[in-house]
Symmetry: C2
Subunit: 155 residues, 2 copies
DNA sequence: TACTGATAATCAGCATGCTGATCAATATTT
DNA sequence: AAATATTGATCAGCATGCTGATTATCAGTA
């Protein structure tokens, strides 16, 4: 039996576990209550106003069924607006509200700090290399999960 | 706003997402139905028969409240036995059953294959380096999550 | 145009993974 | 020994994240 420390899957889980904990701690310290998933959702919608949920899911590599609940909670809190698309009555277009934009702006320093903290054991060069290797491994495995990353298509 | 591909937290989530999908696919192909968490639990108990749940949680860096449910399901399926500790009536000692051992043995090739698959985009050297960097980052952040890795103590 | 297949969103169901609380039992202090 | 603190397990509650199904709608074809 291989040692846990030799299992990429175990290391992936641990690193992600720490990344989430660091994110939540930094964000809470800044006086906000937002999960990594909620943050990514807000940021993606600000950059792509009016996206539908499937496209949004592809942009940040979420499962489409997970998005529903995440968006629900953000709408409930007044950070997003969801309305039917005029072009396709199946789809819902998503817009960020002013409160959502304010939250994003205010929270950004904490998010940046969290990204630094989760690499704090590494030198700058090692941190860059870790990110490169993760990107490369992810690119090769993109299609293996149910929620692959997708480029946005023009509509 | 930083690009997602420059955010270690985003990369961590994606890599973990792919790792889990690969694990489940390989294991299912081998004819089993076991999650990564369940596998790690079985393996840790086989190596440390009679551990209590808190120690187990520390060995594989799980939250103690998560362990309860995981062990429940494994006991239900007859892969584990949970019985009160004679030394401490608060604690439950965990043992792996014969069925549990058989499952572990039978599933090992699939788990090994999954570990290779999740690094398939990298050269051997890059894979080794990725694991080294993850271990280093994790060691530095170990105490930042609610479920840090803990050495087993002799009892 | 009627039919067929694909697509957007949602849902039920299950398994992590966490926060914070409770209960029983043990350990420590006074 | 009595009072206090700590610890092991569990629980309720919430948020991902997935599988597989359903519903409404759209797009392409016969």
């Amino acid at each position: 039996m291989r040692d846990n420390n030799e299992m990429p899957g175990h290391l992936a889980r641990r690193f992600q576990q720490i990344a989430v904990a660091v994110f939540l701690a930094e964000v809470e310290e800044a006086g906000f209550d937002l999960t990594p998933v909620q943050y990514a959702t807000l940021a993606a919608i600000r950059t792509n106003p009016g996206v539908d949920q499937v496209t949004l899911a592809g942009l940040i590599a979420y499962d489409r069924t997970t998005i529903t609940g995440v968006v629900d909670r953000l709408v409930q809190r007044g950070l997003l607006i969801r309305h039917p698309s005029p072009r396709d009555r199946r789809a819902r277009e998503l817009q960020i509200t002013e409160a959502g934009k304010r939250t994003l702006r205010a929270i950004t320093p904490a998010v940046e700090e969290a990204q630094r903290t989760m690499l704090r054991g590494l030198t700058a060069k090692e941190g860059t290399e870790l990110m490169r290797l993760l990107r490369k491994a992810i690119a090769a495995g993109n299609e293996l999960s149910r929620a692959p990353l997708r480029e946005a298509e023009l509509r």
